[in-house]
């Protein structure tokens, strides 16, 4: 049972309301609900809570959150998966008993401490009856509220939205050389000292990351499951890359790391990585804490918010994701595995129409900032009476390109426009065990890895 307190404010003192409103800080788990005057229904109060949580309330009809059931499910999903330590409700004496009952239920479900502020000498009788069995505490002054706060564990603040990892690094020189055998020495020859230094720093950083990853886990093999784990690692490696040339340098560095551990990692040709292909590190926008904050501020529906985040993570338009099953999302919300059947362009017999081409899987790393959005969508969907664990991830809301684009526009976010997963670079990655490429190759590769440039003439 979450703690329930009632603050009596018989004089309707400005200092009480304003003092509490000044403490409103959703990012730090302190949420103050200031109910809309003249609106006393269950759904109106749910909308007030969504507003207090910082969710947009200007598209409630468009997001199908106008009704009480969906609105309360959204409130609960955000509260349970958020970090709301305390929910303060001003003007509580003007709310109905059914709203109080629902608020108490919300506090229990979300584990959130409640402070109900009655601007009256005593709790109205019909509301006091709702409190039976809650073990509530009655406070008579703002100092009591503020004094007792220090004993309550303060929730961790959200990451600073300004601390996003948007790339601001200068682009690296364009370097298409494909061979890992003498990649570094060739980079030195072609890029000169400054270009080499910048490219090589990125390359070596990625190489070391690959070595660390390979040392810490069972060896990948040629099985598709292992290929997917390699995809996930590479998607993580480049997800916050500031440019395509950085991504290419990171992938080349990863190739070297894999080679050092006896693996042959094949990636798409350099020119296609730089100019043609899509995916993480190339054209999929990075979901930072700031991006997630904009999604929260522009979308009230958890599934729509998760949809926008997923479109950004994958870089494909909403329709390409509409049928995505729940099993595509890892339990920790940190990876997406999207499987699709590329269209077969060959002419085929009519009898073969039903035969599908082999499935292809693209794996995406979900940045930490996006995971709470997916978790909220998971909670919202599970709370649906008709929820099917094997159903679609976005079944709870219409998921057309237009609908998600409109929601994203409300978040001031421009969505990527890739129409399918076909151009994702990571689906073209293969990883195979190869202890030796031959004496000459291995010797040359070893020399290149220890290559130290001489002073530039």
């Amino acid at each position: 049972m979450a703690e329930v307190r009632v603050l009596l404010d018989p004089g309707d003192d400005m200092q009480v309301s304003v003092g509490l409103l000044e403490r409103h800080d959703p990012a730090r788990g302190q949420v103050v609900v200031h109910p809309t005057p003249g609106a006393r229904s269950l759904q109106a109060f749910a909308h007030d809570v969504l507003d207090a949580l910082g969710r947009a309330v200007n598209r409630l009809d468009a997001e199908q959150l106008a009704g009480p059931a969906a609105a309360w499910r959204a409130v609960t999903a955000w509260m349970v998966t958020g970090q709301t330590g305390e929910l303060v409700v001003l003007r509580a004496d003007r709310l109905t008993a059914s709203v109080w009952a629902r608020v108490l239920e919300l506090g229990r479900e979300a584990g959130t401490r409640l402070l109900l502020v009655c601007h009256a000498p005593k709790i109205p009788a019909q509301l006091a009856a709702v409190l039976a069995g809650t073990g509530h505490q009655v406070l008579t002054g703002l100092p009591q509220v503020l004094d007792s706060r220090s004993a309550y564990p303060h929730p961790r603040p959200w990451p600073d939205p300004a601390a996003g990892a948007e790339g601001d690094a200068e682009d690296l020189p364009r370097f298409l050389y494909p061979h890992i055998r003498n990649y570094r020495s060739t980079a030195w020859d072609q890029l000169g000292p400054a270009g080499f230094a910048r490219t090589d720093a990125v390359y070596r950083h990625a190489r070391e990351a690959a070595c660390r990853w390979l040392s810490a886990r069972p060896a990948p093999g040629s099985a598709s499951a292992s290929d997917q784990s390699v995809q996930l690692f590479l998607a993580w490696l480049v997800h916050d890359s500031p440019s395509r040339t950085h991504t290419l340098a990171r992938l080349r560095g990863a190739q070297a790391g894999f080679r050092l551990h006896g693996f042959k990692l094949d990636i798409p040709p350099s020119q296609r990585v730089l100019d043609v292909l899509s995916g993480p590190g190339l054209d999929a926008p990075l979901v930072t804490a700031r991006t997630a904050g904009r999604i929260r501020a522009g979308a009230a529906h958890p599934v729509i918010a998760a949809g926008i985040a997923t479109v950004l993570v994958t870089g494909v338009e909403p329709m390409a994701l509409a049928s995505m099953p729940w099993e595509a999302l890892s339990p920790q919300n940190d990876a997406l595995r999207l499987t699709w059947h590329p269209p077969n362009r060959r002419l085929i017999r009519a009898s073969q129409v039903t035969a599908r081409t082999p499935a292809t899987t693209a794996v995406f790393y979900v940045p930490a900032a996006a995971r709470p959005l997916l978790q909220a969508a998971r909670h919202f969907s599970r709370s649906s009476p008709g929820h099917r664990p094997a159903g679609r991830l976005f079944a709870e809301t219409p998921f057309s390109n237009e609908q998600i684009a409109a929601a994203a526009a409300n978040c001031k976010i421009l969505l990527p426009s890739q129409r399918s997963l076909r151009g994702m670079w990571q689906t073209r990655v293969t990883c195979t065990r190869a202890d030796s490429f031959g004496t000459r190759f291995d010797a040359s590769f070893a020399d290149d890895q220890s290559f130290g440039p001489a002073p530039w003439p």
Binding site: P10, G11, D12, D13, M14, Q15, S17, V18, L21, E22, H24, H34, T36, P37, G38, A39, A44, H47, D48, D51, V57, N58, L60, A66, R91, R94, H119
Partner: protein
């Protein structure tokens, strides 16, 4: 502010009386000081008193001097609902588009507009407001984002209506009552109020106040309008008892 731009100084005067001046009564001077404090504190104020004592004119004139670009004036003739107030504010703030249907969306829009820059909201005839209406004003004012001062102006039992609402009692920074001018104030103020009284015999002014003026500016505006007409028709330079008798006959039995 559009709601303010439509009101020029002449509109402040009852009947739009040509030639009337805004007279620096003691009440107006106090009001100007009070409003300056209220604006500085971004607080609430209540200006109350019987009808015709110059409350609205004084508030308009003072705010025209203190914050001409920041005033949003709204007025209600009958008992308004919160919905009415939202719509009037929507228009007065010059918000474009269609007013939202849902109160929470409406309030969010109003708060956005009221947080753009400082504004003084003047709510005239505040005695007509219900508790729910006051809740809306309080809600907008309490919101952390909004940057507003609110001036309630009302006649009749405005003071009683606002005082019985604890939410306003604790928030109104200044209460100011407008009272009838006493005889001494009438004799000092009326000659400056309109040129027709500039050379009038003080005894005639006192006589007019006893018969019809009653220290009330609105009554004096009516008297003055009729005096202006009479002087023009009779081609006289200043009012005398004969003129005043004619005026009183037009004003009815009580003279007012």
């Amino acid at each position: 502010m559009s709601a303010w731009a439509g009101i020029d100084e002449r509109d402040d005067h009852y009947l739009g009386l040509a030639g009337a001046n805004v007279v620096a009564t003691e009440a107006l001077l106090v009001l100007r000081d009070n409003l300056a404090d209220v604006l500085a504190a971004k607080a609430m104020m209540c200006v109350h008193g019987d009808a015709g004592l110059g409350k609205t004119l004084s508030v308009n004139a003072s705010l025209r001097a203190l914050a001409p670009a920041d005033v949003c004036r709204v007025q209600f003739r009958a008992r308004p609902t919160p919905r009415d107030i939202r719509h009037v504010l929507f228009d007065a703030l010059g918000i474009s588009g269609t007013p939202p249907g849902r109160p929470i969306e409406f309030d969010a829009l109003l708060k956005d507009a009221l947080s753009e820059r400082f504004r003084v909201l003047v709510c005239d005839e505040a005695q007509w407001l219900s508790r729910e209406c006051f809740e809306l004003w309080r809600h907008l004012w309490d919101d952390r984002r909004t940057d507003i001062a609110i001036v309630f102006v009302g006649g009749g039992d405005c003071y009683r209506v606002l005082r019985r609402e604890p939410m306003l009692s604790s928030r109104v920074y200044v209460w100011q009552e407008f009272r009838r001018l006493d005889r001494e104030q009438v004799l000092a103020v009326i000659p400056a109020y309109h040129p027709v009284w500039a050379d009038a015999d003080p005894a005639d002014i006192a006589y007019a106040d006893v018969r019809a003026g009653h220290g009330n500016f609105r009554a004096w505006a009516k008297i003055t309008a009729h005096v202006v007409t009479a002087l023009a028709r009779l081609d006289r330079g200043r009012p005398d008892r004969e003129i005043l008798q004619w005026v009183f006959s037009r004003l009815g039995g009580s003279g007012g």
